[in-house]
């Protein structure tokens, strides 16, 4: 993987190219207003992209600072994810053990429990896959958010606003998910669906296990692993889209007046 510095160097060169194309258009001996207008736009785009390159380190630092203010910590988040995975595998092993015990039993009262135990096992396997997906997404965001921001700036630096929307979306995604994803455990705790509290079945005989799994554990698992994290990710995606469109806004406005020449 290339370093962010390499991408920023290419971005800087592309921003200079954008600026130069703008000055070239302004210097063209063509008295056409539509063409001249593009010259001003390109000059301002070049300056805007260069400002973004300059505040790259500030963006990274601000993301970390806002995350620490919110009380979100990446090591704690990964620890929480692996604890959930551990609890899920424990419950899944319990269900599979009960299934095997029921399959070896001659008691028809136990054999009838095999079908619900198998469906519970399938459901738990699916939920484990969901947690694994969240872990992979978290590692991608945690390890590569700096590179994604640099690539986003690179897209914004392209002349004629070719990659402005995708660049803004990449930067918005990286910033919002880097700040917001570690906040997921606290979000779930505040809504009362933290599965580390109510996740393990208390009854260990086969009939009681199926009953407590179906009425207590599975609803909490579906809510705490599938529904609420999905809703949280949708909220974060909405925020990322908003931030992305704010960064890649239709006009590059700077907070001070600039003379073009």
């Amino acid at each position: 993987m290339y370093s962010p510095g390499y991408f920023l160097f290419i971005s800087s060169s592309l921003a200079s190219l954008t600026y130069f194309i703008g000055t070239l258009i302004m210097g063209l001996p063509l008295p056409v207003y539509g063409v001249k207008k593009w010259g001003t736009k390109l000059i301002l785009d070049g300056i805007y992209a260069t400002v973004l390159i300059n505040i790259y380190a500030l963006i990274i630092y601000a993301s970390q600072y806002i995350g620490s203010i919110l009380g979100a910590s990446w090591p704690n988040f990964f620890s929480w994810l692996y604890q959930i995975l551990q609890v899920q595998i424990t419950v899944s092993t319990l269900v599979k053990t009960a299934y095997v015990a029921a399959s070896f039993s001659d008691d028809p009262g136990l054999s009838i429990l095999m079908a619900p135990l198998m469906s519970l096992f399938s459901l738990l396997s699916g939920l484990i896959a969901v947690v694994e997906t969240i872990i992979i997404l978290s590692y991608v965001v945690y390890d590569y958010s700096g590179v994604f921001i640099a690539i986003g700036i690179l897209f914004i630096s392209l002349p004629f606003r070719i990659g402005r929307a995708i660049g803004g979306a990449l930067i918005g995604f990286s910033i919002v998910f880097y700040i917001g994803l570690p906040y997921l455990p606290r979000f779930l705790s505040q809504l009362g669906v933290n599965i580390l509290i109510n996740g393990v079945p208390s009854n260990t005989n086969a009939g009681g296990l199926v009953n407590s799994m179906a009425t207590q554990v599975v609803p909490i698992y579906v809510e705490g692993i599938l529904v609420m994290p999905s809703a949280y990710l949708v909220i974060l995606s909405g925020l990322a889209l908003g931030l992305g469109s704010a960064i890649s806004g239709s006009s590059a406005r700077l907070p001070f007046p600039i003379e073009i020449f």
Binding site: G5, Y6, F9, S16, Y19, T23, P29, I47, E259, F261
Partner: protein, 52 residues
């Protein structure tokens, strides 16, 4: 502030930052050259525009 001055300062700062990130002196040299070349090029273009 004139845009060429602002752009030159920003490119120089960029070059310094990229040099700090990559420890590659070539990037600093290229950035400095672009900043100087920009001033020269914009000066020539602005003179040409004035003549027109």
């Amino acid at each position: 502030m004139k845009s060429k001055d602002l752009m030159s300062i920003l490119i120089l700062l960029n070059s310094l930052m990229v040099y700090g990130l990559t420890k590659n002196f070539l990037f600093l040299a290229i950035g400095t050259s672009i900043a100087i070349g920009l001033n020269v090029a914009v000066y020539v273009i602005s003179k040409r525009t004035e003549e027109q």
